[in-house]
Amino acid sequence: MNKLLVIDDDSAIRKSFMLTFENSGFKIETASSGMEGIEMAKASGYNIIFIDLKMPGMNGIETLDSIRRFNKDVIIYIFTAFHKEFLLELQEAAARELKFEIVHKPLYSEQLLELVQNALLKNI
């Protein structure tokens, strides 16, 4: 079974993921901080990890950077609003060759399911 990890300090977002993927054939686990998410990613294999860009403490890019040190292959989506002030940080991360994709926040359940299904079938 494909496993997803959601790292977000917002409990409403974590709950919405749980509801979206309930009975979908995906196993979903959540973490409320970057540190917790990193430990979970070290301990278990995930097919996709979603990380919120803006989190207290360790932010999304720091979390991404840490996970990439021990896992180069997992698909990682960064949750963000499409505002230049946020995307500038992500441009810097991309320039450092950190591998990630981005997803707009908020996202509807149907869009999220389609995204995950397509990402896992990805062939380019």
Partner: protein
């Protein structure tokens, strides 16, 4: 076959600095060349550099490929699967043999 081949327009929203971006673009261009010859246009847009364009096109995630024309507009989000791309974008009747 449809006569309006010159009107095939694609937009690819991608993170251009991503490690795999160049390969993605090359593979997509190769696929489009082999199916549509010179009768298409592909605009590649870096989401991180042009977020306003992404917002105008209601982009939800990277990568997203949109068939802008011919209508109706179609899109694939999160992964491009060549084996089913023509069907996903409703373009099977536009292939140039």
């Amino acid at each position: 076959m449809n006569d309006d081949h010159n009107a095939i327009l694609f937009r690819l929203y991608i993170i251009k600095q991503a490690p795999s971006a160049s390969e993605t673009i090359l593979k997509l261009k190769s696929f489009l060349d082999s199916n549509f010859k010179n009768s298409y246009t592909l605009d590649v847009i870096d989401i991180l550099a042009y977020p306003e364009k992404a917002i105008m096109d209601n982009i939800m995630a990277s990568p997203t490929l949109i068939k802008v024309k011919p209508h109706p507009q179609k899109r694939v989000v999160g992964g491009i699967h060549f084996s089913r791309l023509l069907a996903d974008l409703n373009l099977s009747n536009y292939v140039v043999n």
